[in-house]
């Protein structure tokens, strides 16, 4: 198991859980980061942060610090 920011570009992972109960954790969950969902790591922004990923067929940018809170099981 690893975290979203540790995946390689193009690699997918299945979300295990989101850490924390604050505003950002709620926002991530509302946007569809929920256990069992598959998320694809796409690329980093030119300056290294944030990272772009794809979930529910939608591109979302989150900061590395936030991506660290998304625990995933890499697929493939």
């Amino acid at each position: 198991m690893t975290t979203l920011d540790q995946l390689l570009p193009g690699q997918r992972g299945e979300i295990v859980r989101i850490e924390g109960v604050d505003g950002i954790a709620s926002r991530l969950r509302e946007m569809g980061f929920i256990p069992g969902e598959s998320v694809e790591y796409l690329r980093r922004a030119p300056l290294g942060d944030p990272v772009k990923c794809s979930i529910h067929g939608c591109r979302i940018a989150v900061r590395s610090g936030e991506a660290k809170r998304v625990l995933v099981q890499p697929i493939g």
């Binding site: 109960v21 604050d22 505003g23 950002i24 954790a25 709620s26 926002r27 991530l28 969950r29 509302e30 946007m31 569809g32 929920i34 256990p35 969902e37 690329r43 922004a45 030119p46 300056l47 290294g48 942060d49 944030p50 772009k52 794809s54 529910h56 067929g57 939608c58 591109r59 979302i60 940018a61 989150v62 900061r63 610090g65 936030e66």
Partner: protein, 744 residues
Amino acid sequence: MATASEEFKKPAPSSVLSNSRVALVGNPNTGKSTLFNALAGLNVRTGNYAGVTIEKKVGRCNLGSRTIDLVDLPGTYSLAPRSPDELVAVEVLTDDLENEPPVELIVCVVNASQLQRNLFLVSQLLELGKPTIIALNMIDAIESRGITIDVDKLSQQLGIEVIATSASKRRGILELKAAMERQLASDHLSVDRERTLPASFYQVCDEFREALIANACTGDSEDVDAALPDDYLIQRMLLDRGGESEKRVIHRLGGGVLPALSVARQKLATQVGDAIDMECNARYAWAKQKLTGVIGESGRASSQITDRLDAVLTHRVGGLICFVLVMFLIFQSIYAIAGWPMDAIDSATGWVTDGVTSVMAPGMLRSLITDGVIAGVGGVLIFLPQIALLFFFLALLEDCGYMARAAFLVDRVMTLFGLSGKSFLPMMSSFACAVPGVMATRVIENRRDRLATIMVAPLMSCSARLPVYLLLIGAFVPTTAYLGGWLSLPAIVLMSMYMVGVVTAIPVAWILKKTLLRGEVAPFVLELPEYKVPAIRVVFSRVWEASLAFVVRAGTLIFAASIVIWFAGYWPGDHTHQYELETQLESVDADTANAETLQSDLQVESARLLEGSLLGRVGHAIEPAVRPLGWDWKIGVGAIASFPAREVIIATLGTIYSLGGDADEEGLAGAMRASKHPDGSSVYTLPVALSIMVFFALCAQCVSTLLVIRRETNSWFWPILSFSYMTILAYLGALVTYQVGSRL
């Protein structure tokens, strides 16, 4: 309390008397604005909700048998209010706002290519117990990718009407209107509330509600039922710890509800675990279940065009180059394209002045009309083309999806100084006007980030500064061209002026985040929507709204200021000799020696009158303070008079120079170039022009902005801080510019 509560639950006014109210809601990036535009056209009134500064946008829409008022609510992913901004949408939807008619129907705009995520919001809407219709928008985009959606089945599974639309292509609009008409005709003001979450949750809610009633009976509230918030708000109170619903209900019912709240939350935690976890899992499970068999999975879920474009536009090197290019192109275009309509407005102003001069005899009224009204308002209207262009580009970038990429690209830079990519949009909007920019900071969830952005947003060069820059650049910056005409010196200076504000904003925000607004870095979750061809109608309706607002502003505030300035420059003084000279001048042929003598006599007399006027006296009094900036008293007067709004300096200078009799065919720019110090040297040199520009780039000469900051922050501290720090920076900036510039 009791009277206010009665207002909240006033029975719905008969639909015979007033238009039915329909609310348009949806996630961001669902084409909601386009749909709103397709339904209401330009028939839109904008204002503010009482007490908050959320823009209230109400459009009138004809459904055939009836006319409705369509309320456009801000785009949101969830009805879990975490800020006053998000709470407004909930209050409108639960008929919980004073003086707002109840919403009879909800139209939820759903992006067809992101059904599952969009259904999250739908599941919350269905808990409100109001008739709801889904507009399944951008259906063409998903069809073109070979994905089919069984609309009838979706409608059946959700138990509400679903209409497939493509707002940008005007597809499905008639069907949507017909569905709205059907719903409104059915006279069902409320429907059963959908219960998506576990039954134990609703049980805790009911118990909590009972506790609230019990508490209210012993408290000071007399009308229990009326004071009790909507069931949805009660649910949110339990779900969102420290959320806005909690604050709102506690504010209304008093702190006596806190023990009951804590008991209910504890019970909820033992039964279902973490509340938000439970809610999100349940709603996504619900969405998944409702979508079974609805989507034909033959095509790609997301567009390849977007992926390909992103590969370039968010590329490590290419992306940044494109970003700089896009920004430069905008500034260059504003400068290049706006030229001809400006000339046209300029000629029209001159033509009107000539017309008035030829039919009226010299006198106070003629002076008021030509020197006060026409010179003042005309000098502001001339900049309408640039403002329209700027709003055009802003709307274009936002609607095509690039604005979010810009936030993605620059987020890292913004974090270095304690802000986020989300501050980019409000800051970018502030280039048009700081008022919407400050209001747009409500997308920033974190209060400290938001305040820091509000503090620096007015440093972005707004459209009101543009006239000042353009006038001075046009008059004093040589039109040297580089790179075969692709790059001109005026464009470089213009861009530099914009950079002054940006560069200053960085340390200001940094200092604020280290002192007054210290704390953790705020979260950042940003959707990067699919690229699309911008909806021209939406772009133009934004340009139209902005231009109209500017003209109305020019027509009221600036008009009033023009008259006041004209009067201050006219009074006191005996103008009899001036009128005699004018009458004589108009009766003799031009180009004669006599005319030239009269002309110079008139200029001397006009200048004498102006210096003796109220304006002249004030200007002379402050001259020692502005002297180190390279300014003369006329510029000082302009800076003081422009406190209500920056663009007033143009009107002021216009009035001063035409009153002074300096104005010739070249207009204000020519008059300024011709302006001399008593010793014969030019008043305006390049360093002086730059010093004025830098002053206006940094100063807080805008009452509207300061008042919006007051409303947004609900305190006088922040607007006073803005004004003070910006004025000090502006003075220092102008001082350094002139002192360094004049020594080079």
